[in-house]
């Protein structure tokens, strides 16, 4: 039983229904797959030694994410829970194979540059994670938007890391030289260690921004006046 000088506190929580737009936007910032969920680290570190490689990998992953979300959501009532993982893997691998062929048909140079990391999209945690956590429990429209948002957030993060690494490691952006010929590139930025440094600094920045946002939140309580 509460002491007599403490009145009960009434707390009302207004829950705003999640709109379809929010399904897309959340992947860009609030639930960004790289900077918030810290998924897909292998691809992030391996292909961001240039902006164009990061962009191509991001778009390829986004395509696989959207298509696998759509198919998983469409078939969610027909896939038994006991075999869902095997079915998801088969679906994801199909679209990764399709992306591999499409990439070769668009640009052999880009395909060679990405190398073995295109087939590795199959084991990217983001895709399996969204299939299991979202697409298997939501409608096709929401799953499609979720895939688009997560894919866009993933691509954005790859661009952020790739921009820094290519600028400092090669002195260029998208292959166009930015600095004069006297600039000595930081080769370490093109190596895995440079990827770790860059990613770590971006994570630091993102967490600092989030902390600043949390400090600004006020919690208000209503207290009944004591009798």
């Amino acid at each position: 039983m509460l002491p007599s000088n403490i009145a009960p506190i009434n707390i009302s929580i207004n829950v705003t229904p999640v709109t379809t737009t929010d399904e897309f936007i959340k992947g860009l910032w609030r639930q960004n797959p790289i900077f918030v969920q810290v998924l897909g680290m292998c691809s992030t570190l391996a292909v961001t030694n240039s902006v164009i490689n990061g962009l191509a990998m991001g778009l390829a992953t986004a395509f696989v994410l959207v298509m696998s979300n759509i198919l998983v959501s469409s078939l969610r009532n027909f896939i038994p829970r006991q075999v869902r993982m095997a079915c998801y893997i088969a679906i994801i691998a199909t679209f990764v194979t399709a992306v591999d062929y499409l990439l070769q048909s668009l640009s052999l140079t880009l395909h060679n540059a990405l190398g073995a990391f295109v087939p590795l999209i199959v084991v990217n945690c983001i895709i399996m994670g969204r299939a299991e956590a979202f697409a298997s429990r939501n409608t096709v429209t929401r799953s499609c938007l979720d895939g688009l948002g997560m894919g866009a957030g993933f691509t954005l993060a790859l661009l952020c890391v790739g921009l820094v690494r290519e600028l400092l490691g090669s002195g260029s952006i998208l292959g166009v030289a930015v600095f004069s010929s006297s600039f000595e590139p930081w080769i370490i930025m093109l190596l895995p260690s440079g990827g770790f440094f860059t990613l770590g600094l971006w994570l630091l920045l993102m967490n600092w921004i989030k902390q600043r946002q949390l400090v600004g939140v006020k919690v208000e309580f209503e207290k009944e006046p004591s009798a």
Binding site: N49, L71, L75, F78, I79, P80, Q82, V83, A86, C87, A90, I91, A93, T94, F95, T97, A98, Y101, L102, Q104, S105, L108, N112, G115, G169, S170, P185, I187, L190, L191
Partner: protein, 232 residues
Amino acid sequence: MTTPSAPLQPRMVWYMYRAFVGIGVICTFIIAAVFLYTQPIIRDKQEAALQQSVLSVLGGAENKRDLVWRDGSLVLTTEGLATDGMDEKSARVYAGYDRQDRAVGYAITANGMGYQDNISVLYGYDPKADVIIGFHVLSSRETPGLGSKIGTDRKFLANFLKLDVSLNAQGQGLAHAITLSKVGQPKNSWQIDGITGATVSSKAVAKILRDSISRWAPRLKLVKTTTGGDIQ
């Protein structure tokens, strides 16, 4: 003591089969459709890329003909793209011809182990002058910014504009093996300057070329060409 799990109901087993077979059929259709659509495009792109590479290592060449080594002689072939130049059954070279249909030289593929992974190269060979006249990296996974320069560094590529690969007196091997030049010593016409910070990759390129030209030069020197450029 654990309780044994109840056996699956026949209906549940049917649902599983239905899911696996259904998804398998859908995935098969998707892959087959994408494959059939993209294969002609990919093949055309590979052929165009190969054509460009061959012409880039044979200065002055404007078209090429695919040749395969068979039964001790070079014969024209219109078979599909070769995947490797080292396999005896599919050993292939590309003869380059200028605008007047005169033979310029041969473009030969070769590959070998680099610092991290396999390096695949294409080089041009002029049998009349006994020199390598061009070099192009088809694929490599060398260290970015260091070993990867073997395909882009201008000074390194300049090594292969007139690299001496003359045969010995017997005509069965190179008179001088292709090696890296030593710092502080005069460079010979059969030596190449390595890339600073990429010695292993540079040595790998020298070895790949040495092994390949040792095998091809004795064969190609014996091939007679007519003025029209036909190779039998």
